[in-house]
Amino acid sequence: MAELVSLAEGVTTLVHDGDAVALEGFTHLIPFAAGHEILRQGRTELELVRMTPDILYDQMVGAGAARKLVFSYAGNPGVGSLHRLRDAVEHAWPRPLELEEHSHAGMANRYAAGAAHLPFGVLRGYVGTDLAARTTIAPITCPFTGEQLTAVPALNPDVAIVHAQEADRAGNVQLWGIPGVQKEAVLAATRSLVTVERIVDALEPRPGGVVLPTWAIDAVAHVPGGSLPSYAHGITERDNAFYRAWDAISRDRTTFTAWMDDNIMNGATA
């Protein structure tokens, strides 16, 4: 059963140094506030897992909290590069960053296998690419047709953190809009924390609603606006201006560090 906790408590209890942490969200519902709290609590040596690392992981990598990144597409969508992530990969600043790189189809099937507690997933993919030699896949043969396909190892992070629109007082969660791979991430992870825009008396079933029952979650924290500058469909708007502004903020190490100090590290704990 999920406990209702403060964001600070949730992060303290569930996220440890060296953990593989998936802060998931496919453009929508990215758990920025939780990521920032992880930085404020000084977690380090993290293995960051996410299909689409964007500004949040640029911040966490730039702050030196991550040892490794497991991903399939790392960019500032519609804007360009993630300069802190590039700096880490290209110049090992502030520290080297190990990469484990997949395609979206591969990552999605890794999470799905993880959610099913199966050791691997199967897809047609990777063949003919240079990625095949650079990542964690294996050929697998269909026992019925003899066709050779690709197996990807299950992804089971130590912790999954996602943001949702609402939870009831028992800790049952509902999110809607673009669902991404959040359900799989939570079900695949050993521990899970969900930040929500609001606490309600009862979850009203909604079109496209994805429900995570309280008994499949460890903790729920009430964090209004917790996905900004990303958005929570129907509640907050994506701050596209900030995504554009990040390009300039993140290009320069000093500007970045100053911005992080002013806006994140010394920011109030949610």
Binding site: F26, H28, S72, G75, H104, A108, N109, R238
Partner: protein, 251 residues
């Protein structure tokens, strides 16, 4: 409607890409210019065109060009929205999407794509975003149209990294790799249009935009470019196309 100002080469590229979607049932859209072209096509050429974004929004009807592929408007206007695993397993993999519009940082003569690194993988000069959905999208969708800026930095003799297979090393490669779709059928640039030779699968310059010479395209291409014997010249943008594009971008 008053004759609008002369179209820029970027506008021509987008308009020519959009024309490719006349009569197409469904298009898978990468972020950026492909998205603009697809929305333009749905407004000017093909109102029934089904726009599919990686974020899981199928049949989205954006009125503005979304900054990201996951903007709220896409989910609000979609015929339905699916999870990422479902998108790749039930819709893209089985080849249910007819055309894919993709961009890339590097394109080679067989329309293979690099969006991973410039330079060596372990010590890259430039780290790029990575594969995203491109490899399986290019393998599974019915056909692939590549939309890229034409320069020697993009159109290279040799990719630094093969992120996405187009026609591999030439004829038969896609079949050998077990891909379902036909692969790249066109590369639309700001200078013209390249199409694979039916036999050799090597990209051939088949069309130049108004005022562009074959020599100019060759100079912007990092390999010795094959030129079609009958080189078409792009139909200039109509007032309707250009007006619609500018209105769309301005929204």
């Amino acid at each position: 409607m008053s004759r609008p100002a002369e179209a820029t080469s970027d506008e021509v590229q987008t308009i020519v890409a959009a024309r490719r979607l006349t009569g197409v049932r469904s298009v898978f859209i990468g972020v950026g210019r492909p998205s603009t072209a697809a929305i333009l096509a749905s407004e000017v050429h093909n109102p029934d065109l089904v726009l599919v974004y990686e974020s899981g929004t199928i049949g989205a009807k954006p009125r503005r060009v979304p900054l990201s592929i996951g903007d709220g408007e896409l989910a609000e206007t979609a015929d339905f929205v699916v999870s990422v695993p479902e998108m790749f397993n039930y819709w893209i993999g089985p080849g249910r999407i007819q055309t894919a519009f993709l961009g890339a940082a590097q394109v080679d003569r067989f329309a293979n794509l690099n969006s991973t690194v410039i330079g060596d993988y372990e010590h890259p000069r430039t780290r790029l975003p990575g594969a995203g959905g491109a490899p399986e999208i290019a393998a599974g969708c019915g056909e692939v149209v590549i939309v890229a800026p034409h320069s020697p930095r993009t159109f290279v003799e040799r990719l630094d990294f093969i992120t996405t297979v187009g026609h591999g090393a030439g004829p038969g490669d896609r079949e050998r790799l077990g891909f379902r779709g036909a692969g790249p059928t066109a590369v639309v640039t700001d200078l013209g249009v390249l199409e694979p030779d039916p036999d050799t699968k090597e990209l051939v310059l088949v069309q130049v935009h108004d005022g562009v010479t074959a020599e100019a395209v060759q100079q912007a291409t990092g390999w010795e470019l094959r030129i079609a014997s009958e080189l078409r010249v792009t139909e200039p943008p109509t007032a309707e196309e250009l007006g619609a594009l500018r209105e769309l971008v301005a929204r």
